[in-house]
Amino acid sequence: MNQVVKDFACILIVFGFCALFVYGAVGGSWPSELGVQPGKGDQNKLLTDTEFTERFESWAALVAAVSLVCSLGWYVLGEWGPRSKSTGGGWLFAWIGLLLVVLLAVIVAFFWGPPASENGWVLDGFFAAIGLFFFYVATALFSPTNTKYVVPGSTVLRKGW
């Protein structure tokens, strides 16, 4: 099978796990289990559990989508963009740029996402995991050949492909 098709499939599988993670968090009410209490909503009204969960799901999906788009964008850029030079310095900046986009989505989710009255940092952790962790895993393990060792740590993580 063509390497590009394989890599795309692997990236989609990574984000399949991301979706499962979001689904598990929403379905299993993991934030509540970890002590997150809904905060006050738009009209200074305390959110119900259902409203809180819906908001959490939407923002988690948004962060995951940004992470997926950035991961695919990184792949497209690496595969069809300019060829990397021996030290790949420019490419590292490009990757950090995309990482910052994902981070921005996570920060936006912190401030605009579901309000929590207690243990809000747990939600922050969820968004960071959904955005940054899956972006890192997808790009470190399944970057195109041209940029496969640009992502920090990929030289350790990638072996044999």
Partner: protein, 496 residues
Amino acid sequence: MSNFVVGIGGSGAKLMQALIHLGAAGMMPAHRTEVTGLLVDPDESNGNVLDCLSLEKAYQDCRRQLKVGKTDLFAADISLTGPWTPLVDPKVDTLKKIFHYNQLAATDSEEAQLMDLFFERQELDLSVIKGFRGRPAIGAAVFANSVDFGKPGVWKEFRSSIKTSSTASAPHVLFAGSVFGGSGAAGLPTLSRLLSNHLKGDVTNARFGLILFLPFFQFQQVEGEAVQADPASFPMATAEALKYYDDQNFLQICNSIYAVGEEFPAEMSVPAVGAKEQRNEAHFIELVAGMGAIRFFDDKLQSADSLAVAAREKDSTLTWNDLPTDGQMKKANILQLQARLQQLAVFAVAYHYIFYPEIQDALQSPGAATKGYWRDLIVRKGVNPQEAQVPLAAADAYAVLFLEWLLQLSTPRRGGFYPGLVNPNVFAKSQGMDWTLKLLRDFQPDTIKNLLKNRPKSRIDYRTIDNRASRANVKDDDAQGPGLLVRALYDACAVD
């Protein structure tokens, strides 16, 4: 199983260069990849000979330092000795001195009278230290006087090698040189006859071949030289020489004779009578002759009493399909043979202009290097980057020599010729008829897709080569160390 080549004079040395490149491309017959070469030239410092020796050294450096495994790259086992010169003492450099003319003349001997009969006074006093200046009669006398197969030295060793190899299989002994100049015209018939006669007794299975270079270049007259080869006399000298080969029944001595020439001679950029100044550019005729040598070496392609004629389709160019091959070869095999040279051409360009600069960057900052081939084949394999430096530089040194050769083949100094094998603009630039390799900063990697011309299949591009290199997975235990990297990069340049 050995092949033997005696390259006589400048043209013989240039054929040897072509054979080294064809050997580097893996074009020697699979079962006969060993070539033992001997250069013969009275002018030891002849530029063509020196170039040939430099090339052989660069080739040997690659073979010795790079374990590339079982592949076409650097496949031929080529060794070269010489140049052997018939002049024992550089001070004894004229016919008069070599044959002790003055002593002979003092006694009014027949030998002195014969010398007066056959040679002009000017020729008797001519120093042959820079070659025979287009006077084969002088050279023939000098060669015949100095070759001694019984005396320890080059010829005895060469003869012994032929004899030793004859026990395993038939040795193929090829003589190459020009028929219109001095050294080749004198040495070809003399040395081939001497050696074949000498081997007759104890090597019965040897096959002899000749490559006769007919005129394919010309040059301006060299100022201040009273005796020198005259290009205007080349056609006449050639006609006489061919008549001589026929009269002397060389087809009885030799199993194959390849005569190659060019109707539109190329102008050599620097005319010189000899020494290091005589550094004639490579010409595609030498590649054509090299294809003849490959045919001669291949004992599966031998057919008795046959005449093969090869010519190119258009005068104005030379394409891959114009490279002559044996009529018995199947189309697929011919394409495979062409593909080997094409792959070496792509590799040389990619290695010199793309990979090697990246390798140098990686050597300077090993921790920051991110190219897949470097991390996977050097860092991950535990190869010490500093130890890899010299072998990887050797591959680059060879690549440059190959590119210069390829450039000269593609741009003969004559009007109305356009390159049909490769596009020289990819890796070289011109100023009028003078071409030079591009500097690294002038090279555009994306143009590599335009390198190979007149090929039946799809083009190979930079992206494909770079991706293949970074995905390299060489399954060959014999490819090791920096050789594994060079092998992977070579494999990445495979043409369809």
